[in-house]
Amino acid sequence: MIVQFLKDRLGGSKPKASRVEVMAARPFRNPAVSWARETRDENAPPIALLKIPRRKDKFGNLMAKIFRLPEYRRLELDEIGSDVWELCDGETPVESLTKAICDRYKLNRRQAETSVTAYLKMLAERNLIALKAGQGQRTTDARVDKKRKSAAGTKRHRTI
């Protein structure tokens, strides 16, 4: 019981989502992050350029003062990353997103699923996106909830 309590307090027990739950989830972009597609290379399609606001809490403000941090950090996504980012609209489930990437880049389902889920995980870890539970599923788990809250309020954002 004590071990479980400590695990919960320290965030050691992370709830695991099944593949079905993950595929039905709908990723959405952090509203605090502004973005636009820009052409960097004439031969390549426009890529997504993200503007990520810095932390605005006391610690963030202090660090910004000391190190003269800019208000925003810029992040360039690659071609496939830009397509995934654009599809993170809160409406498209991961399954459809994967299918769209499959069709666009002629990948097989497994290849696309592996790449897209790894990429979404990376974006979520950086608080750039969060996942909504799919329709007809049980309520979102604590981790997802935490990310959703984090994505909704600018105060909680951490810079990358």
Binding site: Y105, K106, L107, R110, S115
Partner: protein
């Protein structure tokens, strides 16, 4: 249906299945194919020595497997019910001694053990799926088990088919190394000092982005091409513009390797040839490359003709 080809075995599985585990070589080994949910196929095999006169008994093999299953179940504190059963009709072939079985534990499995007189391999294949559910795996299992072939009709060639790569390699070459990544596959085969590699890259349009194919390959290939100096010619492969590379080992480490081969009393592999092309229909890049001895046959052209790119999509 998807074709899986590994170490001389070929089988037809549902489209969602792919290779997820492997070990061993042509003589004895194991591989596993999974779909993303609950269906999985396992094949284990061992080769009978040519000296042994008595044909091995698949029923004995099955019983040994039952014993190991029971032992494992006891460790996990599960109960397993094993049962002998008739092998599916399509698995019963004139060159095979066959014995069927099923078991039920935390999963339900349908399996067959057989000994093939042609390739002298004792094989144990099983299809596992959920224990219950509205759609049982019986029919799927029968179809998969019936489709398993343990030796190719053409004894000179073996089918290798994993993920989106489907090719045929001369039977005298054995798999020595492989790299199976999400968007990059490499299979390297060897026979003595001779080497033969097949490399495939997905997302060709993103990866190459208009670069010259030979320059792109020089920077990205991981097979024999890294160890060769060569000249480049333009050619055509399966309707795609391609490049053909011919040459020999590069100076430095590859030359040292030649000396090692000579010191091992092996005929050194001194001839390099390769063909590469981009298939726009499947958005993939292919590189077939080989290093062979002076008198050795150049298999690259034949392997290229037997490699499917856009035709299977």
């Amino acid at each position: 249906m998807r074709i899986i080809g590994w170490q001389g075995f070929t089988l037809e599985t549902p489209e969602s299945c792919d290779l997820t585990g492997y070990s061993g070589d042509f003589k004895s080994g194991y591989f596993r194919v999974d779909d993303s949910e609950e269906l999985s196929v396992e094949i284990r095999w061992g080769t009978e020595s040519e000296r042994s006169k008595k044909e091995p008994d698949p029923e004995a093999r099955r019983d040994t497997y039952f014993q190991s299953l029971q032992k494992e179940a006891r460790k996990k504190k599960l109960s397993v019910q094993t049962k002998e059963s008739d092998a599916p009709k399509r698995t019963q072939r004139p060159e095979r001694l066959v014995s069927g079985f099923t078991w039920t534990g935390d999963k339900k499995a349908y399996g067959v053990a057989w000994y093939c007189r042609t390739c002298r391999r004792m094989t144990l294949a099983q299809v596992m799926g959920p224990r219950s559910g509205k759609s049982g795996i019986g029919n799927t299992a029968e179809a998969i088990l019936g489709s398993i072939v343990c030796h190719s009709d053409d004894p000179e060639w073996r089918v290798w088919a994993i993920y989106d790569l489907q090719t045929q390699i001369p039977a005298e070459y054995d798999l020595v190394s492989q790299q199976l990544m999400n968007v990059y596959l490499r299979l390297t085969f060897a026979r003595g000092a001779a080497r033969l590699s097949v490399e495939q890259w997905s997302l060709a349009n993103v990866a190459r982005r208009g670069a010259y194919l030979d320059l792109w390959l020089a920077a990205n290939a991981k097979g024999e091409m890294r160890q060769a100096r060569y000249t480049v010619d333009e050619t055509e492969t399966q309707g795609h513009p391609a490049i053909a590379l011919t040459g020999g080992p590069a100076f430095g480490t590859p030359m040292m390797e030649l000396m090692k081969q000579t010191s091992r009393m092996q005929m050194p592999a001194t001839r390099f040839s390769a063909q590469a092309w981009e298939c726009e229909d499947s958005n993939k890049l292919y590189l077939i490359e080989g290093m062979r001895t002076f008198r050795g046959r150049d298999w690259v052209g034949d392997v290229v003709r037997r490699t499917l790119c856009h035709t299977n999509i």
